[in-house]
């Protein structure tokens, strides 16, 4: 028998230390069916366990929009760039919700799936990816709500219009998904050891929303703060989103480019840290 000592002769070599950049994407590809089964599972289980079912997808954005309109629109009187207040807030909330759902749900991946991760191997990245895709379904439903509202206000003759920016819409969605995913991956990897980061997430995401142009247009921000707000990668995305659907907002390829680069850096960092953590997290959680 040939003695096999070279690692190339074996299908798989399991060892403690692997390269940081060995991200096992081919493994991920092999398990692609699993991703869609997780998405299906999420959807079916959500649907089956609630009384109102998919109606929940609508309730949250509708009520948030009403509250925002009352508090920020009527009481505080913050400008909405001449857009109908309901549309202005709803568009911001729809986009922001997708990002924040991706972030918060992926940020607990290790903790939520500790039992399954402790029993069987599959590329762990499948789990956060399935979350991002599941949330896409929810985002789609909420987008439908936005379109219905747009149709209603359009018939009423309100002043807004869809612009060429709509061609960038898929890119915007991808950016939001990947930015949320990347940030979530970093956080979930850290929380396996430092549990208290979890508290920071729900609280931090909420604060971050006020640092993004969800409840006010960038044009209404005081010049002193404008720079800082623009540094937030979500600002460019939300502004472009609003510009695409409603025709108001600051659409610039520069700020989108900035968001894209920011997203890619966070994502790569997230994947590397996640992969490093996944190998041993079972021992610490």
């Amino acid at each position: 028998m040939m003695d096999k000592n070279n690692s190339e002769d074996w299908d798989l070599v399991i060892k403690g230390h692997t390269s940081l950049f060995d991200l096992k994407f081919n493994d991920l590809w092999h398990y692609r069916d699993l991703l869609f089964m997780f998405v299906r599972r999420d959807f079916v289980s959500f649907y089956k366990q609630t009384v109102l079912g998919p109606l929940w997808f609508f309730i949250q954005p509708i009520f948030t929009t009403i509250v925002f309109t009352f508090v920020f629109g009527n009481l505080a009187g913050i400008s909405t760039d001449g857009l109908p207040q309901y549309l202005f807030y709803l568009s911001g909330i729809t986009a922001w919700n997708y990002f924040s759902d991706c972030l918060t749900k992926t940020s607990t991946v290790f903790r939520d799936n500790a039992s399954i991760f402790g029993k069987v191997y599959f590329p762990r990245l499948i789990m956060p990816l399935s979350i991002v895709v599941s949330n896409l379904v929810r985002f789609g439903v909420q987008l439908l709500l936005l379109l219905c509202m747009m149709a209603y206000f359009g018939i009423k003759g309100e002043n807004f219009h869809v612009t060429y920016g709509i061609f960038f819409f898929p890119i915007l969605v991808i950016l939001m998904a990947l930015l949320g995913l990347g940030t979530g991956l970093i956080i979930t990897a850290m929380t396996t050891k430092y549990r208290d980061l979890t508290f920071l997430v729900s609280f931090g995401v909420q604060l971050l929303m006020y640092g993004t142009t969800v409840i006010y247009p960038l044009s209404a921000a005081p010049p002193a703060y404008k720079r800082i707000i623009e540094l937030n990668p979500m600002t460019g995305i939300i502004e472009a989103f609003r510009f695409s659907f409603l025709g108001k907002g600051q659409f610039s390829l520069w700020s989108l480019g900035y968001s894209a680069i920011f997203t890619l850096v966070v994502l790569m960092l997230g994947i590397v840290i996640f992969n490093k953590t996944e190998k041993n997290f079972v021992d610490t959680i």
């Binding site: 403690g16 699993l34 997780f38 599972r41 069987v120 191997y121 041993n280």
Partner: protein, 422 residues
């Protein structure tokens, strides 16, 4: 010569025990500083020690596995045995990539499917069929592969009637049947199984063992089987690996390994003796020794064992007798049995023996309390749980059932079958 499919080289796994949380940031930093900046050895791995539960360690790191080396050839069925905490589960976790080794490596040819627990990822709201897809995909099957095998899986599981019902309505037996059926139909070259036979009824257990036999003998696939059930290991496996405290003690044919296990690993005291100065008792009588014996010192429930008590009578005309009480490991009082023949004895050293009959105790641990009773039924001494035994089982009485056999004792009561009407 057969082809190697698994080669494990110098495999070690360290665990941090105790509180994880406080101080980890500074410790992580210290570690980072030592390994990455100064390129020294990891300071927290140097102080490791072997994993022995019963002794209190001095450091926070224990080696759950230490320098393991072995090879497994294609088509072998290997039983991995050892006490709790010997490192069996850690080894399986490393093989199935749930966690990664601290040092050393494992080389594998072919796909590994592991069944550390059946039904991983089953979702209660999904139907049996949907769960087959989900569970199959988690175990690494492609969707079309599952579709192709669907009929076979459903057929093997024997739950056709409920296949489109949510699994939350399944009995636990049905649940396990379905889960095992999925795993048994994986197209992997190596199958790792951990204690799945603990559930399910006799018929299904037989089917599982049969299927696992087919997998290794018929299909030439490799099976690693971890179990505390020696009867099942013996019937299924051709080779055995015995582990203790994170090391391999014996790696050989299954019979040889089981013999070593049986003779070395009856950890509890089956023999206690005293010198005349320390012997328990009073001025009238003292106990000198208590021991449990069999012909070959291997305790199995299919064999007679003998309790021997040696004591010295220090006064004449002493009506001495010995009584034994038996407890199980849950501290259930199983029985007590005194020696009822009391007659006055002259001074001297005596031996009382009591046969613990075969086919009476159950597999597992029993503790024996010995009492020495004198004139007027005075208690001279009571030796609480002075000796103990962990009965093994040869499995010869079981027929084809390999499952858990409950009960504080396990006598084989006399059964009769009469045909009353044709």
């Amino acid at each position: 010569m057969k082809q190697q499919v698994i080669k494990v080289e110098n495999l070690s796994k360290a665990y941090q025990i105790g509180q994880i949380g406080t101080g980890t940031v500074s410790r992580d930093f210290e570690r980072f500083w030592a390994t990455k900046i100064r390129r020294k050895e990891d300071p927290f791995l140097k102080i490791g020690e072997t994993n022995d539960r019963s002794t209190k360690g001095t450091s926070d790191i224990v080696w759950s596995l230490k320098d393991i080396n072995f090879e497994i050839n294609q088509g072998e069925a290997v039983g991995i045995i050892g006490k709790n905490g010997a490192g069996k589960s850690t080894l399986l976790k490393l093989l199935s990539r749930v966690t990664s080794p601290t040092t050393g490596e494992i080389k594998v040819m072919g796909r590994i499917a592991s069944l550390l627990e059946v039904g991983t990822g089953f979702h209660p709201e999904l139907s049996g069929r949907e769960n087959i897809y989900l569970n199959g995909a988690i175990l690494g099957m492609r969707k079309k592969e599952i579709t192709r095998k669907m009929d076979e899986i459903i057929d093997f599981s024997g739950v056709e009637r409920y296949i489109d019902t949510p699994v939350k309505r399944y009995s636990s037996g049905m649940y396990v049947r379905l889960a095992f059926a999925v795993a048994a139909h994986l197209e992997s070259e190596i199958l790792i199984v951990d204690e799945v036979l603990a559930v399910g009824d006799a018929e299904f257990q037989k089917k599982c063992l049969g299927k696992m036999g087919d997998i290794s003998k018929g299909e030439g696939r490799t099976v690693l089987f971890v179990s505390h059930n020696m009867a099942a290991v013996k019937s299924l496996c051709s080779k055995g690996i015995l582990m203790e405290n994170g090391r391999i003690v014996k790696n050989a044919g299954v019979d040889e390994v089981l013999n070593v296990y049986n003779s070395n690993f009856q950890e509890m005291e089956s023999e206690v003796s005293w010198t005349i100065d320390t012997a328990p008792g009073n001025a009238t009588a003292k106990v000198l020794s208590v021991r449990l014996v069999t012909e070959d010192n291997y305790f199995a429930i299919e064999k007679d064992a003998v309790l021997e008590v040696i004591y010295e009578n220090l006064i004449d005309n002493h009506s001495l007798n010995v009584s034994v009480s038996v407890f199980d490991d849950k501290d259930t009082y199983i029985l007590s049995s005194p020696n009822l023949s009391r007659s006055p004895l002259p001074k001297g050293i005596y031996k009382s023996t009591c046969v613990l009959p075969k086919d009476f105790f159950n597999k597992g641990k029993y503790y024996f309390t010995v009492l020495l009773i004198g004139n007027n039924f005075d208690l001279i001494t009571q030796l609480d749980k002075v000796v103990a035994v962990d009965f093994d089982e040869e499995g010869t009485k079981r027929g084809e059932y390999f499952g858990y056999w409950a009960g504080a004792v396990r006598p084989y009561l006399k059964w009769d079958n009469l045909l009353l009407k044709h």
